[in-house]
């Protein structure tokens, strides 16, 4: 079953998302360059929990007037399979990639009222100060109470908020763009990513937001837990019985996204598909699922287009 949108065939299927814990951190620095370096370094090697400790990405750049310290900032989001794993990944990544990055400071990007839990990430990070860390309490008894830690470092001082909000979030939002050739497919995918990043609460952890390999669970090799998504590899379509590549399709790219809630993921998927279908040469859009057996969330492509 499929339907047509902007002249492109959309398979009437769904992306199967699963539950993860997510958090948002705002990294600020003396200028835009170092804020972005801190954010990209912290979110490196965090594409998929298949082989990474967490999934993470840069959500957006935050202008100075919107950050707590009035400096340029970047919002990053991190996702882990449990609160403990998320907390551990945040601690090690902030410790290794942001605390070490010149001029940076970090702030909670998920306020208590929006979070399910508050993680003691800054409270743990403070021990790096080796006894010289200083606690900082703002607005006690009269405003929005806030707790920070100041950690002396060689370049000056690192500032971190004490607690970071975390909530049950959605990972595994996806759709596959199947195009006439590599150039058309890539252009459609780039447009999709641009549109997705206009939706708040979303990150796309893969390189540039795109996963060219795809993956499937398992392999013919017993030692491998995931392998290439054979049904969608055009170069082997006639060598593989269950190939899902139709005639005229020579390249497929998967767009993968995580979000803080299901409506945001659906809106982002819808926005991405709409933008991608503007590109001539895109033949079909479909999504990856496991028949609804693995994931908690079923995000139908039709629904996604309707809610956007």
């Amino acid at each position: 079953m499929s339907f047509n949108y902007n002249g492109v065939e959309i398979e009437d299927t769904f992306a199967e998302g699963f539950s993860m814990w997510g958090s948002r951190i705002v990294i600020t620095a003396a200028n835009r360059k170092w804020a972005n370096i801190g954010a990209t370094t912290m979110t490196g090697f965090a594409t998929s929990v298949i082989a990474c400790d967490c999934e993470a990405g840069v959500e957006r750049e935050v202008p100075p007037e919107k950050t707590p310290d009035g400096r340029p900032g970047a919002a990053v989001m991190v996702f882990g399979f449990s609160k403990g794993k998320l907390s551990g990944s945040m601690l090690s990544r902030i410790g290794q990639c942001v605390l070490t990055c010149p001029t940076t400071a970090i702030f909670n990007g998920l306020p208590k009222e929006e979070a399910d839990e508050m993680l003691d990430v800054g409270k743990s990070l403070r021990f790096f100060g080796d006894g010289f860390q200083a606690k900082m309490r703002m607005n006690d008894g009269w405003g929005q109470r806030a707790r920070f830690w100041r950690i002396p470092v060689m370049e000056g001082e690192f500032l971190t908020e004490e607690k970071y909000g975390a909530k049950k979030a959605v990972a595994g939002g996806n759709f596959l763009l199947m195009g006439r050739n590599e150039a058309a497919t890539l252009e459609a995918a780039e447009r999709a990513i641009e549109a997705i990043h206009s939706v708040p609460n979303i990150v796309t952890p893969f390189p540039g937001g795109l996963c060219r390999s795809g993956s499937k669970v398992g392999s013919k090799y017993a030692f491998l837990k995931a392998s290439t998504n054979t049904p969608f590899c055009p170069t082997i379509k006639h060598a593989f019985k269950e190939s899902k590549i139709q005639d005229g399709v020579n390249s497929v790219i998967e767009v993968v996204l995580n979000g803080l809630d299901e409506p945001s993921v659906k809106r982002a998927m819808g926005a991405g598909i709409k933008a991608a279908t503007q590109v001539k040469g895109l033949r079909k859009v479909t999504a990856v699922n496991f028949g609804g057996k693995l994931g908690k969330f079923k995000m139908g492509l039709k629904d996604c287009l309707e809610v956007t």
């Binding site: 707590p68 606690k135 006690d140 008894g141 000056g156 001082e157 500032l159």
Partner: protein, 279 residues
């Protein structure tokens, strides 16, 4: 918000104790009950109406109550003491112990205050457009902790021992601060935009407490040790809050300023900090 207006009939010759001029005491009462609230002059018990003309409305809840007090109140003590919510606006100078031990709400003084304003405050906002006397946001003799929360902003000068035994909360003096500001402090924040007199931070312990001097420092205690000059990121948060939310516009000039950091009071092994604007 329901508004109750109190106008002092005549300035008393000796101090009167008016802790009943508080949103907590007034709210939920009938107007006649408010008129009959006890006020002590010396050891003589009198009624509120003996000293004040009253008009306006009484709210059912404390948070919905506003009290406006007019006149030369320099001999009227304890206004707003222990209040938890609502608002008190005082037009004129006011006597000792204003807002002492308050835990919430807001007191706005369009005038100056005598000694002990905001002493042992636990929460809320106290704004003084004129000068404050001695022991602002301080501690009663014998207590172990002074302010443990809340914010005090003085547009003018403050007397001696501002914020003594400060534990948590913030005191901002836009003018000059007298001797011994922050003496014995063990947490909390004091900002002085004018001249900070000598003995600043004497006997301060630490616990994240600091004093920020944005004007002249009369003399730094020799038991405070200079460490370095830098642009602390955390300072930007305070200065932005003062500038953007609390109307202390001169704070905006220092957001990018470097500060000299001193730590002490080493005489007692303390690890409190004094930051002095270096620009």
């Amino acid at each position: 918000m329901k508004e109750l207006f109190l106008e002092l009939k005549e300035k008393p010759t000796i101090p009167i104790e008016a802790e009943n001029i508080s949103t907590d005491i007034v709210a939920g009462k009938q107007m006649q009950e408010v008129r009959e609230l006890p006020i002590y002059i010396g050891n003589t018990k009198k009624c509120l109406v003996d000293f004040f003309d009253l008009e306006g409305e009484v709210a059912a809840q404390t948070a919905d109550q506003a009290i406006f007090v007019e006149g030369d109140l320099s001999k009227v003590k304890y206004i707003g003491a222990k209040m938890t919510a609502g608002k008190v606006v005082i037009n004129g100078d006011v006597g000792m112990h204003l807002g002492s031990q308050m835990t919430g709400g807001e007191i706005q003084v369009n005038g100056s205050t005598a000694d002990w304003a905001g002493v042992e405050m636990k929460g809320g906002l106290l704004r003084i457009s004129g000068n404050a006397g001695n022991h602002l946001g301080s501690v009663y003799r014998g207590s172990a902790e002074g302010m443990t929360g809340g914010c005090i902003i003085v547009d003018g000068d403050a007397g001696q021992e501002t914020g003594s035994f400060l534990r948590r909360g913030m005191i901002v003096v836009r003018g000059n601060a007298g001797p011994f500001a922050g003496v014995h402090m063990n947490g909390g924040e004091i900002f002085v935009f004018g001249r900070a007199a000598k003995r600043l931070g004497a006997d301060a312990k630490g616990n994240g407490g600091f004093i920020v001097c944005l004007g002249e420092v009369e003399a730094m205690l020799p038991t405070y040790i200079y460490d370095s000059t830098y642009r602390p990121t955390f300072m930007r948060l305070y200065l932005r809050e003062l500038n953007d939310k609390l109307g202390v516009k001169e704070a905006g000039r220092f957001i990018d300023a470097p500060f000299k950091r001193y730590h002490g009071d080493t005489a007692i092994g303390g690890n409190s900090e004094i930051f002095v604007a270096a620009a």
